[in-house]
């Protein structure tokens, strides 16, 4: 299979207000490529949740998105604190978000479960003190 379209974005960990920029750009690109609204929604919501997590929990990171003929692959990597117990973090309602972050409407503990639900495959690799890499795949069934 030929190489797909690839994008790289740096996600700024300081700037809470611009968080989501990478997801919005990906959404625009998918629309231009003519993908279905359902696929676009899955990819953009999953990526936004991941992007926000990198900002609020990991001080930023980067996002790589590859779009091939039959799937969209999103790789989010950061050098934050890592996730000690991934299965706990995956539980709906589990959150370590600060009060300040909660006052903005985050911290419901629904981000990782949403990412799992909206993608066809999700792999979390995380090491405490080193960082986290999350790879998500959304299949495109034409």
């Amino acid at each position: 299979m030929s190489d797909g379209v690839k994008f790289h974005y740096d996600v700024d960990g300081e700037d809470f207000t611009s968080a989501g920029r990478a997801s919005v750009m990906v959404k625009k690109t998918l629309r231009e490529l003519g993908l279905s609204p359902e696929i676009i929604r899955k990819v953009s919501v999953a990526m936004y949740e991941g992007e926000i997590n990198m900002v609020i929990h990991a001080g930023g990171g980067c996002a790589d998105v590859e779009i091939t003929e039959n799937k969209v692959i999103i790789v989010l990597s950061d050098h934050g604190p890592g996730i000690a117990d991934v299965s706990l973090a995956m539980q709906e309602g589990y959150s370590t978000a600060s009060d300040q972050v909660r006052s903005l409407g985050f911290g419901a503990g629904m981000g990782l479960p949403n990412m799992k639900r909206y993608t066809d495959d999700m792999v979390i690799e995380s090491e405490v003190g080193k960082g986290t890499t999350i790879t998500m795949t959304v299949n495109i069934n034409a």
């Binding site: 968080a19 989501g20 919501v45 629904m110």
Partner: protein, 105 residues
């Protein structure tokens, strides 16, 4: 019903309406953003009291037809211009979330 038609009702005022012709189908009420992203359907009107910039990203990514700020909540001018840029409709009302939803039923 379109967002424009909705905005013409006396209970609502327009904060930003870059996409007036969008159809409203159903309602989602919530303030926790991940919850909204998990549950709101495309074309829903999203009723909330949240007014920070992240609301726009969530509205745009979930493809809701309009945000309705209830209980008299408003947006700063900066966020209003960002809503116009991003193509996110935002209406406001003095009503509670419950009263707003009843009006839309």
């Amino acid at each position: 019903m379109t967002v424009k038609e909705l905005s013409e009702r006396q209970e609502f005022s327009v904060i930003a309406m870059p996409e007036p012709e969008r159809e409203v189908h159903g309602v989602y009420i919530g303030d926790l953003l991940s919850w909204v992203m998990g549950k709101a359907s495309p074309d829903n009107a999203w009723i909330t009291i949240m007014s920070n910039i992240n609301v726009l990203a969530v509205a745009s990514l979930c493809d809701v037809s309009t945000v309705i700020l209830c209980e008299g909540v408003t947006l700063t001018d900066e966020i209003v211009s960002s809503a116009k840029e991003k193509g996110v409709n935002v209406l406001m009302t003095e009503l509670s979330a419950y009263e707003t939803a009843v009006l839309l039923s």
